[in-house]
């Protein structure tokens, strides 16, 4: 079950990555940094909430609000940086997001310091549940349910709403969508902000379970990277399945042969890239 919890978080970050890649064709290395940003903001928000007399049982409220609110930095990043490089070579786009990784890492260190911070004992505040013979913190179940709900919500958004149709049209053929009257700038801002929010929310939700560390972003991005490669770049279903594969394999490997943990995942990534570069559900061609 630990694996599924991890998968739920991974899915959120990877979904943000997929959304941005699908529409803007930018592989956003900074999505891990957004995740770290969400985590730190979550810790601060929960700390503020409880120190001002908020009931500990409601700690998820400030957590989620903070996670979503800090996602609005996506607007700044998109308007301030990314919009200059849409017509550039993808190397430059990749490097720009790498620049973001560097900046955000130190911004986080400047704001919150280098020492890990955590929310303290709130993790088990909702008690534990017995499930399939294992003891699982109820908080984990809530996060898994929330992640599932978000997955369904994303599916609904993409396939059933007008905005979803625009997103898919833009992902398919940007020029055609523009020619048909879609204001692409506005779509890009919204898509990127949504992608950022998924990442920051993922970071905020993970935080009661682990401490926030300044390296958490650059560590998570390689996992999210594995998820999207296994699932297929640009595919939501791919993010979902990929996150489950990576999350569960990781927890299995840890319990069976710890040395293999991440090694196994990268080997799978390489295998997928070699035999099926589109990934399990991808549509992008190699």
């Amino acid at each position: 079950m630990g694996g599924v919890f991890h998968a739920a978080i991974l899915f959120l970050v990877a979904a943000g990555l997929q959304l941005v890649f699908g529409v803007q064709k930018i592989f956003n290395l900074a999505c891990g940094s957004f995740y770290a940003l969400g985590a730190y903001t979550g810790v601060s928000a929960v700390g503020y909430f409880t120190s001002h007399g908020g009931p500990p049982a409601l700690f998820m409220v400030p957590l989620v609000v903070a996670g979503l609110a800090v996602g609005l930095v996506g607007v700044v990043v998109e308007r301030g940086l990314l919009r200059f490089v849409y017509d550039r070579d993808e190397t430059f786009q990749l490097l720009l997001t790498f620049a973001l990784v560097l900046m955000l890492e130190d911004l986080i260190r400047m704001t919150w310091g280098a020492a890990p911070t955590s929310t303290g004992g709130l993790y088990l505040g909702y008690g534990q549940a017995r499930l399939l013979g294992a003891t699982v913190p109820v908080y984990n179940l809530i996060v898994i349910a929330a992640s599932l709900a978000i997955a369904l919500g994303m599916g609904w958004l993409l396939t059933r709403t007008a905005f979803g149709r625009i997103i898919r049209a833009a992902a398919d053929n940007r020029e055609m969508a523009e020619a048909l009257g879609v204001d692409m700038r506005w779509v890009y801002v919204r898509v990127f902000t949504l992608g950022t929010m998924l990442g920051t929310l993922g970071g905020a939700l993970v935080i009661p379970a682990t401490a926030a560390m300044s390296e958490m972003g650059i560590e998570l991005i390689v996992e999210a990277f594995a998820v999207v490669v296994i699932g297929g770049l640009g595919s939501m279903r791919g993010a979902f399945v990929g996150a489950l594969v990576v999350g569960i394999l990781r927890s299995l490997a840890i319990s069976i042969y710890p040395e293999l943990e991440m090694l196994l995942i990268y080997l799978i990534v390489i295998a997928v890239l070699l035999w099926r570069p589109r990934g399990l559900f991808g549509t992008a061609s190699a």
């Binding site: 592989f27 290395l29 940086l81 200059f84 490089v85 550039r88 070579d89 993808e90 190397t91 430059f92 990749l94 490097l95 720009l96 790498f98 620049a99 973001l100 990784v101 560097l102 900046m103 955000l104 890492e105 130190d106 911004l107 260190r109 400047m110 650059i218 390689v222 990277f225 594995a226 490669v229 710890p258 040395e259 293999l260 943990e261 991440m262 090694l263 990268y266 080997l267 990534v269 390489i270 890239l273 070699l274 570069p277 190699a286």
Partner: protein
Amino acid sequence: MRTPVGLAVIGVTVLALPLVAAPYYVTLMLPFMAYGVVLLGFNLLFGYTGLVSFGHALFIGVGAYTGAVLTTKFGVRHMELILLAAALAAAVVAAPVGALCVRYVKIYFGMLTLAFGMVFYTFLLKFYRLTGGDEGMRMLRPHLLGHEWTGFSKTAYLIGPYYYFSLAVLALATLVMWRIVGSPFGLCLKTIRDNPLKAESLGVSVPRHRWYAFMISAVYAAVGGALLATPTGNVDPTLAYWTHSGNIVFMVLLGGFSSFFGPILGAFAFIFLQDTVMSVFPYWRLIFGAVLALIVIVAPGGLMGLFTRRPPVEAARP
């Protein structure tokens, strides 16, 4: 820089540097020269062949660990042998890895190299008995040209014989690379970068040339990695981490990938800028991130691009 006079001035300056500059700045030149070698090779792949590796730190790691393993476990202390072994090890690793990677281009090539880099990183991190895990391994002071240099203190050794040794390696690496990019082989690579279809139809085997370029750049990275290990005296897995690969790409871009000497300038600017920024402000990544963003957006030609008057649009397509 383009004139022989400029090269001569730079040559005399670096030769005389240990005699005039403070030892601290001389020791800063050592990582610069090591990265100079790495970047020369990297740019054969990036600037000349048009492939961006996001896992190049793998080969720096291979070179550095070769040095550490040879000096601590096998008692091999001759730097010439270490460099040779590092180059050999890199070629052995790069042959299969490169053969697989060059089947793809653009973002897929980048992702594949990133994944291979992370495989090596986790291997270094997790197999404690072989690699020392996250503590890494010691790199003992190597002998140069058969001499032990026992009378020298650590600093005297580094700013004296080791400085000139590194310089010689960098000069040799530059000379060899200059010959490579000017050869028919180098021209083939440029053709492949600009128009792979045309190259193929002219009878140039595109995957084979990409593979050769990959191996050459891996060998350069390993030689640079081995050079890098001596001044630090210690090697650890972060050498192979993906952010290190990112820094490599950063350095090349900083200097300018579309010119031969750009990467060397980039390594120089990166090392000394990092030192300057860190001495006044602990959060150097913030500044560097901003610098990188600025380069990507306004000056894709890098520092060299500022000197040569080339339209930035053209330079923006590697």
